[in-house]
Every structure is written in structure tokens, then in C-alpha cells.
Symmetry: C2
Amino acid sequence: MTTTMKSLEPFFAPQGVAIIGASARPGKLGYGVIQNLIRNGYQGAIYPINPKAKEILGLRAYADVTHTPDPVDLAVMIIPARAVPEALQACGRRGIRAVAILSGGFAEAGEEGVALQQEIIAIARSFDMRLVGPNGVGVLNPHSGLNTTFIEQIPEPGNIAFLSQSGALGGALIDLAKGQHIGISYFASLGNAADLTETDFIQALGHDPHTRVITAYIESVHDGPRFMEAARQVAPHTPIIALKAGGTQAGARAVSSHTASLGGSEEAYAAALKQSGVIRARSIQELFDTAIALAYRLPPRGPRVAVLTNAGGPAAVAADALARSGLQMPEPDEATLAALRQALGDAPQLLNPFDMLGAASSPEYEAAAKVLLQSDAYDALLAILVPNTANDPVGVADALARAAAAAEKPIYACFMGDVSIRDGRRRLHQHRIPVYDFPENAAWAMANALRWHWVHESPPVAVTPPDLAAYEALRPAIRTFLEEEQPILAEAELYPLLETIGVPVAPWQAAYTKSEAVAFANQHSGPFALKILSPDLMHKSDFGGVALNVSAEDVGKLYWEVQARVRRRAPKVGLQGILVQQMAPPGAEVIVGVRRDPTFGPMVMFGGGGVYVEALRDVSFRIAPFSDEEAQRMISETVAGRMIMFGARGQRPGDVQALASLIQRVAALALAIPELEEFELNPVIVHAPGQGVTVVDARAILRPATDRA
Amino acid sequence: MTTTMKSLEPFFAPQGVAIIGASARPGKLGYGVIQNLIRNGYQGAIYPINPKAKEILGLRAYADVTHTPDPVDLAVMIIPARAVPEALQACGRRGIRAVAILSGGFAEAGEEGVALQQEIIAIARSFDMRLVGPNGVGVLNPHSGLNTTFIEQIPEPGNIAFLSQSGALGGALIDLAKGQHIGISYFASLGNAADLTETDFIQALGHDPHTRVITAYIESVHDGPRFMEAARQVAPHTPIIALKAGGTQAGARAVSSHTASLGGSEEAYAAALKQSGVIRARSIQELFDTAIALAYRLPPRGPRVAVLTNAGGPAAVAADALARSGLQMPEPDEATLAALRQALGDAPQLLNPFDMLGAASSPEYEAAAKVLLQSDAYDALLAILVPNTANDPVGVADALARAAAAAEKPIYACFMGDVSIRDGRRRLHQHRIPVYDFPENAAWAMANALRWHWVHESPPVAVTPPDLAAYEALRPAIRTFLEEEQPILAEAELYPLLETIGVPVAPWQAAYTKSEAVAFANQHSGPFALKILSPDLMHKSDFGGVALNVSAEDVGKLYWEVQARVRRRAPKVGLQGILVQQMAPPGAEVIVGVRRDPTFGPMVMFGGGGVYVEALRDVSFRIAPFSDEEAQRMISETVAGRMIMFGARGQRPGDVQALASLIQRVAALALAIPELEEFELNPVIVHAPGQGVTVVDARAILRPATDRA
């Protein structure tokens, strides 16, 4: 179900608003909201609802929402949680289909609150009514003057929408936008998002003519797959920039005590946001910096940045920051050099960064900026100004605006300092030139703008889920394991299933007698690996349960030796025999696995193999399903994968196609078998191109799908 | 030689100043400097020097510095570069021993400028005169009103000193400090640092009563070892915070075009700053944020942070940021809980972060802050405030100051937003409570303050260079290699030298005949490694020149086979035979090596072994010499090293003592043999504790020490 801007219109541009819980006492929120509506120029009808008051702030008050005249299409509730259900019923009967609930005391406040929240959702459904909140500060629209929040001073109308799962963080950013003269289109405080979630607002704002950029502060996504689908559709035409809190253990604990939400893992969020084209900000400042970059200007179409400056030090800092953000600072080509010489003479260094020295004038900035914005050597311009007695920041701001007017490439400014450049910065905001306090901020905003350009150019594709028919054949076996309460599966259980779905496993035999082991060894070419068969041992090698590079003639002898070794170290575990497996030819060792995320579902992992490399976390993740291209990207995101793609000293390239295909098979397995809680092929040996891959170990943990909410 | 504050007094608090190049025309720098001296309340004598003017800004002008009356102990030069030598001679004759040269056109401006810079250094030496600059903006001291810069509005007197290798960056930060009401003690623009360098100022400011924190913007350190020694002595009592530009290739290029300085490597700077106790800021903002943290408050004595807030979202962001900075947010102990309950009642969640909800009052902030600052569970307090209609930022600022007054622990504030909290922020600065715009800034500043606490508690030790007598024995061999123009050394050349200095090498034999190889194999237990002996091959295994795990009986056969394999792949290289070496027992593979840095000299590297791991850059560096403790720290900074220290699944701990001792031997080798340009033991096999380490490959590149400046 897609939420449209039309359906949210009562929230952002209502004809009339009833304030349930209006107060005649200044300082009360029920007074402040009405005051803010009047102060911010809201033109619709305002109906204070208060059983005791006759009039509030010069407006006639009503005892009950039932008696308000038309038009009234939005209700704002500022009453105790327990009173909300009855008030909601009254709104429903009155024909109000949009309610912003500012009251707290719902899901964030323990069991009783959870029940209350369920109740209001049911009431809303029964009236076909939409809710914002509860436990938020409501909505704000500078275009219509609508403001249901406690925020007094609101920014000018603009193009940046802001969704926040923290009303306070929203308030602080609104205050910041106001102070820096940055316009916003809408603000919605999602609160507990009992009904309308971040996904609904993203869907709607994606088609709103006022909104150029959607920014979001997210503590937890409410419906992973629906969020990904909505973001995937919106992000290519309207950038979505998200700050996700709770990425560390401490952060997740703070989030959970704040909104009682059970978060998915950081890895899953990182993968899901990337796969659906959402740009991720690493700090509040970066969220803000990126928003103005994308709201004010088209993004750069490539990574090549010209830096124009009147100071060498800040330019050096910029060069470091640009490089660390993945951007480039190439030298000018001949044509650009010639044009610069004509514009500036030979005096300044005609190298990137282009340092015009301290006293650089506004005309010099304008002339050089024009040349650099027209140059084929660059995709974007960063203009740095350090104030001094010889220059005029406002004049330079105007000069940059003139240069930018005709350009098809973006220009970014870094005006450093404070008192001396305040007016210059304000002027740049008026000219819609993104301006930053420090070169580092400019660099990450530019890099994020370029990231969005790539999302725009190559939108994330809608992935048709793969044909899972072949994988359905595994269901009876999985059911049996669960019925027999055998949730941990090792090689002997998994290999037959893997072979059924075409995963290449090195030839093997579960040998419950020595003669079975010897017979297998005689039928295959060596060397062999001997691994203890025991339902109780997760880490076989820790107990001496593995022998590698065993020749055919030694298999018989080691059949008992390996079991004896384990018996000595772990006297009580049950031993069933030995799994004999042909050693795979050497190659790069990698891991392919599955984890199931509470928010986003099946997540596939790829990474380098071996204990050491696991410690180095050289891994990448994707939410299934994903395209073949994404599988290739997973490989290329790791050092292990790049070495397989391109080779390295002493290591030839490997069969990337076969590896990508294995990753896709594992993704399909995760989609087909929801009981697969954890799954790991470790290691998988990657052979030379055309030679495929071989799985030489596997383990899985099952969990009844009904155990999950 | 140590530079004292006394010796720099003429720069910061001169009795009289001569302005050579004074101008009567407003807008000129030679006018602005005099104007700034007067405006900022400088009380000493001011002598404009200008051959044509009679009077400038109401001051009598002199045609020549020779004729100025006493007192005059500082000259400021704002004249063309070519005129500087003569003016310097005149100052010398007049008895002026301190000159700030603002003129550009020296080492940063090509060959002619380099010569000019040499000339002024010589003149200064001949008069025992000290120089600041050239190519900087001079010095500024709000305590005495001295200001030789173009910066008009200067901050209040305070405790933060700022050294800058970019005058412009300095100017911008001074402007920022002014705007945010942050006081500074001194500012020096080092320019080309022809005479006085960052090291001299660090030495002097380390004993200045006004200076609590030294901040520095550094593009290149002028004398690596002297800098490290000075920083090591100052940092434990006066924090030094440095922003180093040029850490990326693009940044290094920008630095070099800015000041023509040839930088050391990023790895060397990282190691040198860490070893000498300098706190490194990763951005201009972080430099600033850390400076106020350390200037205003004592640092935390541990990593445990209590977060007090009126908003859940910002607290969640803070929790993530604190965790990412290595800080902790433990839950309160019973005593703290009881005290909090008494102070606040049960209403807010008594969990860390302590969320008092939106309307939290100033008395609540004060009461809770007092409890948390006294609690044994915490080392520091972070107080977050988001403005709303119900609270009073100035009142909260005063409340926090009252709570902090009695506390022995630091308090940090994050007041979010802009227009609504400007006054609150200003009040916090007045109370000397570090205040930040966003939780992320507070987190990194707190983490840096804690880093400094550790420097203060365990100062970097002065390392006595090791006894190099044993290593002197290698000199003749090194000399011979260089004389024979054989700069690349492989195993056969290096092993004898390594054995001389007690490095454990696996038994080996350079076999120039098959019978030599077979004889060695018969005298030792196998298996063996066979490696091609060729002066032309750097990467033996790429050409099939290595056979591993060879049994004694196969050594004869493989003697010719390995040579034939190399011959096929590299028909033109010279082959000398085979190096046979006993295979070391298995163990963790690591690399120990040396690189020589142009700024800091011999740098020792430690890291995990193998091509894959090299690509993952799991390495650590130290400048030699260093203490045994530092050698242990090098090991612990890498994942490979931690696995050797603590073991891992499938890998037992290794002989850390033997490894640390090998690292120290390599450091001594690098110190004793300055011709050792690059050196690598790769791999070194680390055995079980008590079993030592074994070197199984080595290479080196020599370079005559005279080739280096």
C-alpha cells in the first residue's frame, strides 16, 4: 500500500484544526500550539477543544470536538494517554480522518502503554483514520503555516523535508535551520509511529513538489521490506539522507530505553540502506551538511574537484578531506590552464588547489570560478575563503553566485571563521550556494552528493525474488530436524541438502566404520581431510578432531587416532565416526553465510576465510533477494574479494562468476527456508576462473519460524 | 638547545616595536598592523619605520630603524623579500634581537627564495637574533595587546595557545575563537619557520603560566627528533593537540605547493606524535573542540560517562558517538540510584542515559548533575539540553556551573540548536564548561581529554638509545655491499649479518652445487624449503622459484627442477643455485621491518604476514629508539599481534617476549646502520611461549647515508 501526499494533506495543509486539550494558560503546551498556529500564519480554522474554556487566545473554544463547525480535517491531541481512545472515537464520529497525537504514555511506557497503543490503532482502522504519533511533537509546514509543535521560531519555507523519530532532535535541527537561514518543506515527528511510519512519509514526500531532499533521523525501521521498497522507488529522484542511531551496543541500549524498539543489527541497516539507495550520514552535522548540498544544487557528475582558495593551509586540509572522502583533485588540462592564465595572469600558482593568495578579490574569484566551472577537467568547484582585512566576504559570495548562475556544475563554498564571515555565509544561503564552516564538512557533503548522483544514474533495481521451487525440496528435511529437536546442523546433515540445490561440495563420506572410510579413500584420489563426526562439537579443530592432508594409506590408521584424540580432550561428547572428505585443490578461502535480521530478514554475508581474517572483519552484507550485480559488488567490497577479482602477488585471480553464483544460491536458500537462522559455508575454496568453487565445511542453526514475531 | 619563554619574550611582550614597512595609507598591511597594535591596547612603544612619512596614525615615523629611541626589542617587517637582508642587518646593528618577518618570497617561492632564506638565517645567526617567519602573519598576544597580524578583532585573553604553519588558518581560528567567546594565550604564525619552529614554541609555551593547552596546525615538522624530544617533555604537563595536514597523497601535494616542504610519511607522523604524547585531531573542528575541553576542565580519569539529558534522540546519538570514541556508558550503581531517586523521584528513567524528559528544569539538572559528578560509577558527565518552550538554557547553564563548582570530575555540555541556545552557550563558556553543538563533538573531545589524561599519568619515557656496539660489527660488510654497488640484499647476504646480531634464522645453506644442497639436507631434519638464489629476482615465488615442504630425499631432484622452472619463466635472470633452509615449525606469521622516514628517521614496522593481510594493512609503526613497553604496544595494536598475545580459536598464544625482543633488535639495527633504507623480515614464524621466533625470509635495500639531506 502506497501512502500518497494527497492522503497526508490533512496533516500538512488542513482546512481546519481541532486542538483537543487546548489550554487557556500560557506556558502549557495546549496553549503554545494554538499560539504557534496563529504566530506562524496558519490560515485555516482553529478550534480549541476544552470543556471549561469559552475562549482561548481570542478563538471560540468548544467543549467537545463533536460540536465544531466545518471545516475540520485535523485533530491535534494533547491530553493524557488514557483519554486518547475516547477522544479518537469522537474524532471518528465527527468525520476527522487525520489525528496527530502528541501525548506520551503508549508503547514507550511499558505493558499498559503497549495495550493502549493497540487500542488506538484499532480505533483508527475502524474509522479509516490516519495517525501521526503518539509520543511525538506532530507536524510543521512553513508553506501553510501549520505548526502543531512546541517550536516557536520556525524556518522559512524551503525544500528540505525532515522526518524524525525524536521530537527533540527534530526541534533542535529546526532551530538550527532557522538560525542558518535554511528553508524546510515539512517536518514530521513520528513518535512511536503507531500508524504512519517513516515509510509512509517517504512515499508521500517523494512526490511532493516542495520537497527536494528528504532527511530522516531513524532509531528503528518499522517494516524492513516495505521501507526498502519505498526508499528504492523514491531515492533515485528525491535524495533520502538518513542518520541511524543505535549502531553501537550502547547506542542500541539507549534507543531501546527511548522508544522500546527492538533494532536490527548495524550490518543489516548498513546493507538495507545501501541497497535501497539511501545516503547515510555519520553525524547530525553531516546530515545537515549533505541536505543543503542536495537541496541547493544539482550533484556533481563525477569525483573531480577543483579547489579555489585564498589560503594554502585550509586548501591542504581540504585536499586531505576530499581524498579521504573518495574525491579527486586532478591538475588542470591545457585548455583550463590557458583560460586561467587569461583570467588571472600567471601570478598565482596554477595548480589544484588554485591559491590566489590572501588578498584575492571578488572579481578574481568570479573569473577563476567561471573558468573552473566550465572546465572539462572538473565535476565540481569548492571555493574557500578565509577572511582578512583585504577581502570582502559578501562581495565574494555575490561573485560566486554570478559564476554559478550559468554553470551546469555545482559549486560549494567554505567560508572559514565566525564574526568576519557571518554576512557572507548568509548571502551564500540566499544564493543557494551550499556553505560550510570547515573544509572537512564540505568534503563529506560533496562526496554524499556524488553518491546520490550515482543512485540517480543507476537506480537500485527491483529484484524479482528468485525461483525457489528447487529449494522447496529441502522443506521436509528441515521440518524433520526441527521435529527431532536437532537445531544445529553440521556437515553430514547439510551436505546432502546442499548437493540437492547444486552447491558444489568436495566429495565426502560419513564413515561410521573404519572400512567405510578406507573404501571411500580407495575410490577417490587423495589427499583427504578426516573430521570427527559428533553432534556435540561445534569447533572440531579445537579438540583435535581434524586431520588434514591425509594420504589414502593413512586413512585407516587415522580413523581411530582422530577419535582417540577427541576422546582424550573431551571425554563426554558422543562420537559417531569420521567424515572423510577429498581435499580441494588450493585456492582463496572465503566464507559465505546467512544471518536472519529481526527487521530486514534474510541477510547474506561474504568475507575472507580463516580465524585471523574474521577478526579483521573483512566482510560485506546484503539483504536477500538482490541482483547478480549486487552479488558481484559484495565480493568487490572486501579485500579478500578484490584479491579474487584482480589477483595479487603470489595469488592468481579466482572464479568470480562461480563465487557470485554460490552467493545467490545461498540467498535463495535463506529466502526459501525461513527456519534457517544462521548458516555458514566456511571455508569455501575459490579456484581459478572456470574451475568453480568448492565447499569444504558447513554448519547451520535452525529455529522454528513461528518463534519470530 | 631549549628555547625558553624568556627568550621569546620580545615576541610576545616587547617593550617597543618597530614596524619596518609602515604605511600611511589605510588598507595597506603596513597601516593595518599599527592600527591593530593601537586598537588592541598594546602599551609599549610603537615606531613606524618609513623613509617618506613624518607621522602615521598619530605616531612619529622614523626613516630608519637605526634612529629609533629605546625601548625597541621587536621589529616587524612588511617589506619586499629582497629588502629584508639589509633591514635585518640594520636591526642587528640597532640591537634588536627579535624580528617577525611577514614578507613572502622566500623558500616557498623557488630557488631564488631559498637562497634569500639562507641569507637571512645567516644574518640572524651573526647577530644572535631570533626570527618568526618569513611568510607568516606574525604573533598575537591578547594578554599584552601585542598583535602584528592583519586580524582586527582578537579574542579575549585566555589559556589556549595556537601555533600555525598557515597564517590564514590561524586567522580563521582566531576569528572563530572571538565569535565563540573563547580566550587565547598566544598565537604564532610560523610561516616558513626559517629560525623559530614549532619545536621552539612548544618548548617555550610549555612553561608559560598563561598557557594550559597548546594547539598546532602542522604541515611538516622541521626537525623530527628534536620535535619528539620537546613534545615528550611538554605534553605530560601541558596538552599538545595537533592537526597534521598532508596525510593523503592529494594533501601532501597541496602542502608541498603551499610551503615547499618535503613531508614525512603519514605512518611516521602518526607514530612520532603518539610516541611523544601529542593528541592528534582529525579535523579543524576536533582541534577546537578538544582545546576547550582541556583548557576549561581537568580531564576525566577514566572512560565511564554519565549522560544527563532532556531528550532521548540526542542521547542515543551521544551513546553511539561515545562508544565509537572508546568511551563507556555504564549503568548506575546502587548508591547512585538511591541518590538520584532522592534528587529526582522515580519519574524519569533511572538508566544511563538519564532522560529527564523535555521539560526538565534547571533545579533538576543541578540536582542530577551533582549526584552524577559525585558518583563512584562515573568519571565524567555529559549534559545534553534541547531547547523548548518549557526550559531555560541560561538557567540550566548556571545550574550546571553550580554542580560543577564542587566537583573533582569534568562536566561537558551539548546544547543543541542555534537561535534558542546562543545565550546559554555563551554562559557556559563564561563558566568554563566546554560546550558543543552536537553530541558527536562532545564525544571526541572527551575521548581526547581522556587520552591526554593517560599521557599525563604515564608520560612517554625518554629512551636511552640501545648499546649498538654489537651492531657496529656489520659496518664493514655494509660498506662493501655499497662499494660493490649491490644495494639490494637477499637472504644469502643478510642471514650471516642477522646471525651476528643474534636474530634467530632457520638453519640454511646457500648451495651453489647439488651436492652442497644434499649434504645440508642429510645433516638436518626436514622438511626443507628450496629457494632460488638469484641477485635479479625480488619476488622469488612469482617465478616458481620456491619449493616448500621438500623431504630430504627430494632435495637433490628439486635442486635442478626449481632452477629449470625459473629459467622457463624468466629466461634472462642470473641463477646462482639454491638456498636450502630447514622449514620452521608452524606458528603465526608476522612481518618485522624498517623504513627510513625523511623527517623522523628509522621507523620500525610490525604486522601480520601474508599477501592478504598486507592488503588489510594490519600494521603498526614506531620511530626508533623506543622502550620495550612500546614494542609490546606495537604488537598489541594489530589484530595479528593480539592473536599472538591472547590466542584465538584454532590458534594458541605465541612467544610475545621473543617477538618484542626481535622488534628491538631490528630497531637497534636501523639505528646502527643508517644506510639501511628498507628492511623486511617476512615472514617471521612465532612459536609457542618460550619457543622463540624464527626468521625464514629477509630482504633489504641499502642507500648511502650521504644521499640523504
